[in-house]
Symmetry: C2
Subunit: 401 residues, 2 copies
């Protein structure tokens, strides 16, 4: 950390090695490796590891835990883990609610709060102010737990230009080319706030903190239907960064008009709002309507049953097409698709069998266990991953901060 | 070439540098670089370049051409190019025809022959025998031109296991898990014969020898409809290697049954056979039927016009869905979609505007200029690219041969 960071000189080697050691600690997870184990695992000398770990501990990224004998020469060793005293705030703006979560470096969700908020058509600054109030709760929770907030991740249900903090298009919010100032949500956080797409964040949450396989399609079910494609443990973003728009796959060419300007999109049959309307669930808050829908399904009420059956059928059409085009063999259902899985699944499986027989093994069609926390974990996780990949930059930023 | 090829020793450096020099010659194309220019471009010493080039010339991969003054010290220099005396045979089995082409290392198609052949339902060994007869023509053409055949590429309209030479599924041929022996087509060729998917090969042909952009979707129009997705100048194959199955995207959930076992697939509306049937073109050879269809279209015959309109419309649905999912912004139409472009395009553009307004710029929806040669070029090109990437292996193989 004290060497000059001149490119191509000593700084570069230390930069790489800091990342190597931090990544090894992150991967080892619960095993809490000792310095000696890290040296063996990375191929670095014990002296080098000790020096790198000293920087990581001093910066607060890594904590020493427990005391055990590491065997080799009978000396007592200390286990190392990503610090539980450093955290990142995950934030989500969705059509019917706002959510925040505090995620520590090890990936534990330490605090979570959600409020219903009808954001459709509201000006971004109004929504951002409401979110700011909710974020204050996460800050208070962090202070109470002695957790220093490093940065934040903000997920929105639309296409974003992450570099410029612009929401390019979020039709269900009626937002088009809206400039946000996410940094204002966490002004003191050294790493700022990173803007991302909701479905992509949920997919990354699943990859890093859920049952993540190296290749899968995450299906996000909110008012909008989104998708996050993970291939080779990386998000597939496409040439322009807007891949995975599963909700706007055309599932019926004579289908209804869609908020995207198109027609017959999956979202018009399987989005939350589409299901509520088809099931004749009266207006109300999201939780009230969900409750009414589940009650109607449990009572085998025909309109509700048909609405969810149709959603499952058309989701099957979209997944059949996706599997053909991208060679996807594993699907993780999130959001309301997870909530409705019991009722939706038979129609979904029948549809897959009709449109792409034998292509997707039903056991590879799973439900996310992270629930709505997946998006918060993924939004925060992107900041955590960037620190693990480039701890040197964080160390420099901390020094300056 | 004379150093031992022990891994991690001198052999590895030479291996890398041979590829570096050969790739530089390939990229420079028509400019025919001198040894001095290669040294400047690669950062290798002139002595190293001369030694590497000597091996490449001796092996026949590179030719010296022309004589010009390279300026630097007034010495005469010789330009270098990929040899036109080494070739690869591209071969294609399709539902209605067989084709072979001889491609020299520089990518020129030196010979091409196609025969109509109704291969649907024929046993693979019968088809392979017919293809063998056609391949003999390419061998004769190569001998007449003094071209040594290095290897071959065989494209088939189906999913393949390239490593095991198995056609996993080619529904339009009625082939399912068929073991082929492509090597038998060119027994003396040192590099053997590589099996590939037809649409993927055509996409690579477009990338390397056509108007290839770094990112595009190639649409193959034959009896089957296929797709090849190129992202970042690489084929996107997906986790299991079978991505790009554009023909089996569901474009109408109440559509007819498809050869894949599904229903409502693009192929059932826009495949060659589907268009001929909808246009009421009588049975006959592919060229006869194509001629009849074009005549009917020119005469504005209603059934033919409607058939091609529907094909364009449903192709638009599939491209809208593909663009949403994979963020594809450029599409290259091949096969019968290229032939029918004039009649199909209005419906295609209207459909794209209806289902994904503003997403695909019509100027980014182009027609392949390679025609049916694209598949042959791409099938052969994969072997050529593997030599350019690993010339050392070829040099070793040639010595042993």
């Amino acid at each position: 950390m004290n060497e000059p960071a001149a490119p191509g000189r000593v700084g570069d080697v230390r930069r790489r090695n800091l990342s190597l050691v931090l990544d090894s600690i992150a991967r080892t997870g619960d095993a809490k490796p000792s310095r000696a184990q890290l040296a063996a695992g990375t191929g670095l000398t014990k002296a080098a590891v000790s020096s790198l770990v000293a920087d990581l501990v001093e910066s607060g990224l890594v904590s020493e835990v427990g005391l055990y004998r590491d065997g080799e020469r009978g000396r007592p060793g200390q286990g190392l883990e990503l610090s539980a005293r450093r955290g990142v705030v995950g934030m989500e703006i969705n059509v019917d609610y706002l959510a925040v979560g505090l995620v520590d470096l090890g990936g534990s969700l330490r605090f979570r709060s959600t409020v219903e908020s009808r954001n459709r058509g509201l000006a971004p600054n109004v929504v951002m102010e409401r979110l700011g109030n909710l974020t204050a709760e996460a800050r208070a929770a962090a202070a109470a737990d002695g957790i220093a907030i490093m940065g934040g991740g903000l997920a929105v249900p639309g296409l974003v230009d992450e570099q410029r903090n612009v929401v390019l298009s979020a039709p269900n919010l009626h937002w088009e080319r809206e400039q946000l100032n996410p940094r204002s949500l966490l002004e003191d956080a050294p790493l700022g706030v990173r803007l991302s797409n909701e479905a992509n964040s949920a997919a990354l949450g699943e990859l890093w903190y859920g049952d993540g396989q190296p290749d899968f399609l995450y299906v996000s079910g909110e008012v909008g239907v989104g998708g996050g494609v993970v291939i080779g443990s990386e998000l597939y973003l496409g040439p322009g960064g807007s891949a995975g728009e599963l909700g706007h796959i055309v599932v019926h060419p004579e289908g209804p008009s869609c908020s995207c300007g198109g027609a017959g999109c999956l979202e018009t049959f399987a989005g939350q709002e589409a299901i509520f309307q088809a099931a004749r669930i009266p207006e109300g808050s999201l939780s009230e309507r969900t409750e009414l829908l589940l009650t109607a399904l449990a009572a085998a009420e025909p309109q509700a049953t048909q609405a969810v059956h149709d959603a499952g059928r058309y989701l099957g059409v979209a997944l059949a097409s996706s599997a053909r085009l991208m060679d996807i063999e594993t699907v993780v259902l999130g959001g309301h698709f997870a909530v409705l899985n019991e009722w939706l699944r038979p129609a979904l499986l029948a549809s897959l069998e009709r449109y792409a027989p034998g292509l997707l093994d039903p056991t590879h069609l799973t439900v996310s266990h992270l629930g709505h926390s997946g998006t918060l974990l993924g939004a925060a996780g992107q900041v955590i991953r960037s620190v693990i990949e480039s701890p040197f930059e964080f160390l420099l930023a901390s020094k300056l901060a």
